[in-house]
């Protein structure tokens, strides 16, 4: 029961605690009785596609939206009753670019500082690493920044009042792989300063950068655990299969009676296999007999993406 782990182990109270949170928009159940805790200094990832309910959860925690039922606290404060106090402790980076496009980098930062009644100078140590990369462009209007730089500026603005909790809603969507990696390196440094971070992402590979993750689908949390534990629970044998041509190979793998599912994974296909009935070597021979060239079959460790696809396979 991961939701009560922290309390049971006698740690400090959780920084974020949700119990049976539900939210519905008309006939759409955006959140279905979601419960979880986040401990201080954790990076907690909500991993799932658009429409899974991640933004709804974040907006409830950011005190911008009321849940229909259930309870949520941030730093022990109730999201409904104590919303003013929460807003002083919380930095929120919404999914859509939220800064003023017509203000410069510097003006955006001063504006957010002024709103929270702080100065850029007193918060500077916290954002120095990130803002340092933007400083050469400080006079540039926010609308003229590249995707990666916009994200960095939005992160600076979310940190300007020195929050103890950061809510980052899809901070890396649409951002190139290099900026994504840099962004996660920044989060790792913030974590060292005991800032608690909840972050959502549709990129499954980013899950490995989190201490714990929730796999989210259709408003429900499917699993809440450390990424490695989720991987170790993958219930089937998983093989990587290569061979030319790849698209035909995928279709033939799906027709094979000992293969339960096959999906393209970059330069190889991943197949879940009834391994009691066939060996990688036998499958390789089968495929060569069908005329495939450069066939290679080997057993592999699943990735989070394999796990997610397995957990959501029947829907």
């Amino acid at each position: 029961m991961p939701a009560t782990q922290g309390i049971a182990a006698g740690h400090q109270p959780p920084v974020i605690s949700c119990r049976q949170l539900s939210k519905r928009y008309g006939s759409v159940e955006a959140l279905r009785s979601v419960s979880f805790d986040v401990e201080r200094g954790e990076i907690f990832g909500c991993i799932g596609p658009d429409g899974a309910g991640k933004s709804t959860l974040f907006r409830i925690l950011a005190t911008l939206l009321r849940a229909d039922s259930g309870r949520a606290t941030v730093e022990g404060l109730d999201v409904q009753k104590d919303f003013r106090a929460i807003r002083r402790r919380l930095g929120y980076m919404p999914g859509r670019f939220s800064l003023y496009q017509d203000l410069s980098v510097e003006e955006n930062l001063s504006f957010f500082a002024a709103i929270f009644g702080v100065t850029v100078r007193e918060s500077y140590p916290l954002i120095r690493d990130i803002y340092g990369q933007l400083e050469p462009f400080k006079a540039r209007r926010a609308c003229k920044l590249s995707g990666g730089m916009k994200q960095k500026l939005a992160l600076c603005c979310a940190l300007i009042h020195k929050p103890s909790v950061l809510l980052l809603d899809e901070p890396t969507t649409g951002v190139d792989p290099i900026s994504r990696r840099e962004f996660w390196e920044m989060l790792a440094r913030l974590r060292q300063q005991s800032i608690t971070i909840i972050v959502s992402t549709p990129y499954m590979d980013e899950a490995m950068r989190c201490d714990r993750i929730a796999l989210v689908k259709d408003g429900a949390f499917l699993q809440i655990e450390a990424p490695q534990s989720i991987i170790s629970r993958f219930p089937q044998a998983l093989w990587s299969v290569q061979g030319d041509p790849m698209y035909g190979l995928l279709k033939d793998l799906r027709r094979h009676e000992d293969i339960m599912a096959a999906y393209a994974f970059g330069d190889a296909h991943h197949a879940t296999v009834r391994s009691e009935r066939i060996t990688p070597r036998q499958l390789g021979e089968n495929l060569k007999a069908l005329g495939y060239l450069n066939v290679e079959v080997k057993e592999i460790q699943p990735t989070i993406e394999d796990c997610y696809m397995h957990l959501t396979a029947d829907s």
Binding site: G48, P49, D50, G51, A52, S146, G147, G148, M149, E170, T173, G174, V175, D176, P177, I178, S179, R180, R181, P202, Y203, M204, K217, Y247, Y263, A264, F265, G266, D267, E305, Y308, M309, T312, A313
Partner: protein
Amino acid sequence: MRNTLARSAQHLSIYVENLTKRFGSFTAVDNITFSVERGEIFGFLGANGAGKTTAMRMLCGLSKPTSGSCVVAGYDVSREPEKVKQSIGYMSQKFSLYEDLKVWENIRLFAGIYGMGEKLIASKTEQTLAHLGFEAERNTLVKALPLGWKQKLAFSVAIFHEPEVVFLDEPTGGVDPATRRRFWEMIYQAAERGVTVFVTTHYMDEAEYCNRVSIMVDGRIEALDAPKNLRQRFGASGMDAVFQRIVEK
């Protein structure tokens, strides 16, 4: 010169030579040269701000090159941009369909814009809905569709008028892993029918599904080859590592 260009362009859906775009003193696209064969799936990769969008806008006839030449589907983008627009399809994650129109209305609208006749539109609409398994959604407003369905519909609409080339600008952002893969199978099917696919993506596993990819850095194409060859050349296990090495060089 023009003759060789025209001749060499015959098997090519896209032919770009020394293409450059400057905005004031800033060179967004810096003298790029490449070509894409008919029926090829070509991945157009690069960091944010590398010039991909500017290049793609020129290829689609939406922006005039500062210099260089660019022939798409047999038409020169500088001289006949309207012909180019008629011969291509375009889909981006940000905008593709009208949310407040029904499924069939979106198909009807786009097909009409591309000048297709009523009868052809009617019969192809049935075909497309059947192929997608969307018969029951004909009268559904697009905004009520799940994202994955919208994307499939947007792609079908983009190739509905049977363009020679389809441009896909980050088509799979935000969708779940299974939907992302089903979308790529649609791309494969289109390419098998001879549609040339020009696609940008930030998912490096998707770069592997392309016949060839180019990687843009600061307005230039720094690498262009089949993913397998790029992996070998850079001694990298995946396209993610290839990308990091080229962009950070």
